[in-house]
Subunit: 238 residues, 2 copies
């Protein structure tokens, strides 16, 4: 039997207002040469919000989780929809769920990835790349999210091959050192750096050299036999 109830239409949205909604956001880091400088900087894409809350402010790319998609799939989809970017691998960063982080109750599952400068899609509407060290005030708690992602980036660079995601398949030791220096925000001694990476077993020297205005520098590649510790047993799963 189908009972029929009378209900003012206005009461239906309260089901939504009382609910907890799940969103995904993504922090994409790359290294960019700053205009008018020789130095590289950690940069990330932000999207200008076109609606309230926080209309007109910059925010991380993201959107709502759809009931029919996994968390990682939602992060990839919303990232592509807003920025056109498609990194090969997104890693889950953290779930942000403080009560007051949005006018309604939203738990945001945040993913992050590194991409090489040549993977960047330029000139997408409402998208701009920012120096991570000089961000404006972002929407919601997104400044705090970026700070946390930067902290993870700096921690990971010490014990994993995370710099790989920012380099071409083959690179010189000077290029690798610059990635480390930019992420860590300090200079590294070239001789010590060379000794450490050569002893790590992570790098394989090739027979090719980078030539140009400087003396030829040997190209290296990462040893793919060493397990990518940061992926963990879940791989690219949710």
């Amino acid at each position: 039997m189908t009972r029929t109830v009378l209900m003012p239409a206005e009461t239906i949205p309260t089901v939504i207002d009382d609910a907890i909604r799940v969103a995904v956001s993504t922090v994409i880091f790359t290294l960019r040469r700053l205009p008018g400088s020789d130095a590289a900087a950690v940069a990330l894409p932000l999207v200008r919000r076109t609606r309230d809350p926080h209309e007109g402010q910059w925010a991380l790319p993201g959107g709502w989780l759809d009931v029919t998609e996994d968390l990682g799939a939602a992060a990839s989809r919303t990232l592509a929809e807003t920025t056109g970017l498609a990194p090969s691998y997104l890693e889950q960063l953290y779930a942000f769920g403080a009560i007051d982080r949005s006018p309604s109750r939203v738990v945001s599952i945040v993913y992050w990835a590194l991409i090489r400068p040549d993977e960047i899609v330029d000139a997408v509407e409402n998208v701009s790349w920012f120096d991570a060290a000089a961000l404006p005030e972002l929407a919601f708690d997104h400044n705090e999210i970026v700070d946390y992602a930067l902290w993870r980036l700096r921690n990971k660079v010490g014990y994993s091959r995370i710099a790989h995601g920012l380099l071409a398949d083959e690179f010189t030791l000077a290029e690798l050192r610059e990635v480390y220096e930019t992420i860590l925000g300090r200079r590294l001694d070239p001789a010590n750096f060379r000794r450490q990476v050569e002893n790590s077993g992570n790098l394989i020297p090739t027979e090719r050299f980078r030539t140009g205005s400087h003396r030829p520098a040997r190209l290296y590649r990462y040893n793919q036999d060493v397990e990518l510790a940061e992926r963990g047993p879940l791989g690219a799963r949710d």
Copy 2:
């Protein structure tokens, strides 16, 4: 103006069925001496489910996120309600959100913590402690969650002071080594282990000794001036 719509009562629950719900679960690790053995094992508490889905099966302690509480607060509350346990600090592990992990769509934010054997509350209804290496088939994807938590535990023990959460404030090097051996599942050379921890700067020798059936062993404590890397900039926040 209030519009009134006619709606069969049966359609209302579909709002809930289509929704994504947020749950929290917690993995609590301790070291326990196995019955009839001198060896310690990593153990965790599980709760027997008293309703469907998976009625009668063992599951991680947890429950639904309330709209008025932060993620970490929800993890602490549901852990206390189900097991009586109250660790001083819970760390977020991962958000599990695969579409098929539950009959309805549930995203579970999983927290984890270590507790010392003397913090354990025994004899709570429907709660039992299991050897992490010999679990039955758990409800939902909880076997996969425990496997991931064990992987994180083994990874963290190498580069942080995570073993601290399993020891009293003062401990012998043999006790510390046993924690590492149990987590890593292999024996460590006592002399090498002593040299490594003494060189790490993490431990401070005290003037006190453990006496008993063996020769007196010096007690150590952790150097609180060394930052707890695993807490991160968020501390105990969500």
